[in-house]
Amino acid sequence: MTRYVLGRIATLVPMLLVVCALTFALLDLAPGDPALRIATQLANGPPDLSRVDELREELGLDDPLPVRFGRWLGGVVQGDFGRSAIDGSPVTERVLDALGPTLLLTGSGLLVSIVGGLVLGATVGLLPDRGPGRLARRAIMAMTGVSFVIPAFLVALGGLWLFAVVLGWFPAGGMSDPGEPRTIGATLEHLVLPAVILGIGTNLGVFTRLIAAGVEEQMDAEFVRNARSRSIGRRRIVSAHVVRTSIIPLIAQVGASMAYLVGGAYAVEVVFGWPGLGRMAVEAAQDQDVTVILAVTVISGLVVVAGNLLADVLLGVIDPRVRLARSDS
């Protein structure tokens, strides 16, 4: 199994490199002169042209692209993401500060989607498709469909206003109450609303339908009919047989949805003032702070890759067919 994981890592690392190179080249195409843009930002008004030349030389903007990419990559490998293109402040520290909250939010958002998906999906799968059951199934399907029609940021804003402001059940933003120490309790209290909204806004819909389809199909699978003929109770059939087999497609889908989840987390971070990578990335893009965008791209890529890897390993643990296929390939 570990051979498989190492193999996967061996393929994922070059992939990340490819993405970094792509993004670096992309950002390099930016029209206009970065030095001029930075000088304008710094001078808070018309830049003095001498300053622009200084900046150009300082940032080594005249070196060819591969050289600059090599220098940047050299830094990244040692954990130094360089300096902000706007105010020259070190990026590494800021990005690492922001990584914690983003992982916390993304992780709990994923948890909400998975648990929600399992519960709602199983209910839909188990409900009979007649009479009230059909109505309940339709209702759940429609509710989870919301994430396909309404963008994540709108769900976030609506949720913030309804639950934090009008109902006041949850704090309206940030990771801790203004001025209060950042205790675990405070962080959790602040985490609930954004995490639930992130879960609903991104993957709850997909996971619910996946589980619902899986459970409905499994409940009529041959091995379930066999179990029924062996007088095994319905509850035990669901817990011992159906859950395990229908969770397999869910885990595969988790891997595929990681990118979508991290993207969605950014929107929620901006609305809830969650001090994570999302806010930083969005502001960096609007300020066209190239170094920060690159740093966030690399870190987000790592988060998604790690998520994929985790899902893969979990798949191996749960599904013996995958485990055996991997051990002899």
């Binding site: 008004g45 206003w161 990771m175 066209q288």
Partner: protein, 573 residues
């Protein structure tokens, strides 16, 4: 969350202010027309109220104000990270908005008092004399001031801060404002002498930049560490009313009251600056009761009106929205066309839609300044007059569409920071038969292109505000104040009468003579307008009823830091 990034224009990103006794009056006065008289009255009232406070400030404020014990001043602000990284690194001075943080933690040699027309008043410097030729400024420092870490404040700190700000290695943003400074010397612990290379009236304003402790920052800067990466920058020490406690990047900054503050320890023991992504999020945090005060724009008024426990304080400001005109463009060369554009634009629609009806039409660049001059009316909205002027200038009205040499007229309007304003202006001009192609974009993109090559532009949304001292419009209108030498006259507007009036006003020390000079400027500028002047935008401050002590005076968009000038006197019940 159309993020309004306002590097240049401070008014929309001002910090929250408290509403003192005059708060309620300001609501009705601002409704009145923006005549000169009213504004003057406004500042006197503030002054009276101030006297009352004055009495209090002598006696230490904390003893009898038991109610503020254990309270916390929670402020919603945008760009918290920029405040932190730029106010220390950039040695920012007013008018830079990022120097707001400085007002909490630092003090400057002098301080501009909004209740006395932003007159520079003593702060760390007890008093100062100016030589006859206006080149030598001698400051006598207070002796009862200590740093937050207990070290005594001496002239060495002032010399160190000014020299560091002038040192190009530190990329200080105020280097341009202090360009006139030739030398800074400290004959003794309590005296600082600043010699200028040329007379420069606004130097007092530039010299009120935050003073940093030489004994902490000095060594690190000597060692060549860039200011942003010094240990000091991670936990700065100042002399101001509040001390730096804890910074949580991207979220909030915690401050504790400075017991040894020379004006008396602040009444509210703790202050927190909470970062909000944009005005909608600020409104949400207010509605959730999590922050005590925050600024909002007209768009959020609907969200915060009638919020229990809060009051919306709308205060007039000197900020003027305008459309900068490229006078070199063939269509806009003729002054009559530019006057006509001023007549055709529907200012009331702008005020109603953008500022929720709470702005004032702006008919002169010198609105709300300390100079007592009569505002001209030649640029007021007057569709018939505008149409007539266009015909004089050779434009032909072909059933509702203005044409020049048979071609329908189409002007391009670029906007970098106020898309909704640009949309309304474009729409109102289209109603008058002038087609407007709108091009909105990101601030740094648009301004970057403008500074690089102004010729490509025709109309350009802009905002400026003359602080009390009208001299700052010099860099907007004077033909010498081109982009190349640091001015804002982007389109090389040149008008001899305007130049003459501005030069005269700058050298004149007698108030009446200056007023006459600026009146001449105003008339010349109205005859050959460089802008379509739109409206003034008030500042909307939403403040919790439990807070008391906010005394805005006349808000000047450029001097946003002065919303906090008396923070040490605030109380929270």
């Amino acid at each position: 969350m159309q993020r309004v990034s306002l590097r240049l224009l401070a008014v929309l990103a001002a910090l929250a202010m408290l509403s003192a006794a005059c708060g309620s009056d300001s609501d009705d006065t601002s409704g009145a027309s923006g005549s000169e008289a009213d504004v003057a009255a406004e500042s006197e009232e503030a002054a009276d109220a101030d006297d009352a406070d004055e009495g209090e400030s002598d006696a230490p404020a904390d003893a009898d104000e038991g109610s503020s014990e254990g309270q916390r001043l929670i402020v919603g602000t945008q760009f918290l990270d920029d405040f932190v990284s730029r106010s220390i690194v950039g040695f920012d001075t007013p008018p830079a908005y990022s120097s707001v943080l400085a007002q909490f933690v630092f003090d400057g040699l002098l301080e501009l008092d909004p209740t006395q027309g932003y007159l520079p008043v003593p702060d760390l410097a007890e008093s100062f004399e100016v030589s006859d030729d206006g080149l030598v400024y001698t400051f006598t420092l207070r002796e009862d001031v200590t740093w937050h870490d207990g070290e005594p404040f001496t002239s060495a700190d002032v010399v160190f801060t000014l020299t560091a700000a002038l040192d190009p290695a530190n990329q200080a943003r105020t280097a341009a404002d202090l360009a006139a400074v030739a030398s800074v010397t400290a004959p003794d612990d309590v005296t600082v002498v600043v010699e200028l290379s040329r007379p420069f009236a606004p130097i007092l304003q530039s010299l009120s930049l935050p003073i940093h402790p030489e004994h902490l920052l000095g060594a690190e800067l000597e060692a060549g560490t860039p200011p942003g990466e010094t240990d000091y920058a991670a936990a700065p020490i100042g002399t101001g009313p509040y001390m730096w406690a804890e910074y949580r990047p991207g979220e909030q900054l915690l401050l504790d009251a400075n017991p040894r503050y020379y004006k008396g320890a602040p009444a509210i023991p703790e202050a927190v600056l909470v970062d909000v992504a944009d005005y909608d999020v600020a409104a949400a945090r207010l509605a959730a009761g999590e922050i005590d005060l925050s600024e909002v724009t007209g768009a959020q008024l609907g969200l915060v009106d009638g919020l229990d426990g809060y009051a919306v304080n709308t205060v007039p400001s000197t900020n003027v929205f305008a459309i900068s005109l490229n006078v070199a463009d063939p269509l806009l060369e003729d002054p009559r066309v530019r006057i006509a554009l001023n007549n055709l634009v529907d200012r009331q629609a702008l005020i109603d839609l953008i500022e929720g009806g709470l702005g004032e039409p702006a008919l002169s660049p010198l609105i709300n300044t300390s100079v007592e001059i009569e505002t001209g009316t030649s640029l007021a909205t007057d569709v018939e007059a505008g149409a007539a002027l266009l015909e004089d200038a050779g434009w032909v009205d072909e059933d509702g569409t203005w044409t020049v040499d048979g071609e329908p007229v189409s002007l391009r309007l670029d906007d970098g920071f106020a898309p909704q304003l640009a949309e309304v202006v474009a729409s109102s001009l289209r109603d008058q038969g002038i087609d407007v192609q709108l091009n909105t974009g990101d601030y740094s993109d648009i301004f970057g292109q403008l500074f690089a090559d102004p010729s490509g532009f025709q109309l350009f949304t802009y905002s400026f505000g003359a602080p009390t001292d009208p001299d700052s419009i010099y860099i907007l209108f004077h033909s010498q104040a081109t982009l190349a030498n640091g001015g804002f006259n982007a389109f090389a507007y040149a008008n001899d009468d305007v130049d003459a009036a501005l030069d005269r006003a700058r050298d004149e020390t007698d108030v009446a003579a200056r007023a006459e000079a600026y009146a001449a400027f105003q008339e010349a500028a109205a005859a050959d307008p460089a802008y379509i002047l739109l409206h003034t935008a008030p500042v909307h401050m939403v403040i919790a009823d439990s807070l008391d002590g906010w005394d805005p005076g006349l808000v000047e968009y450029q001097f946003v830091r002065f919303l906090w000038w008396n923070v040490e006197e605030w109380t929270k019940s």
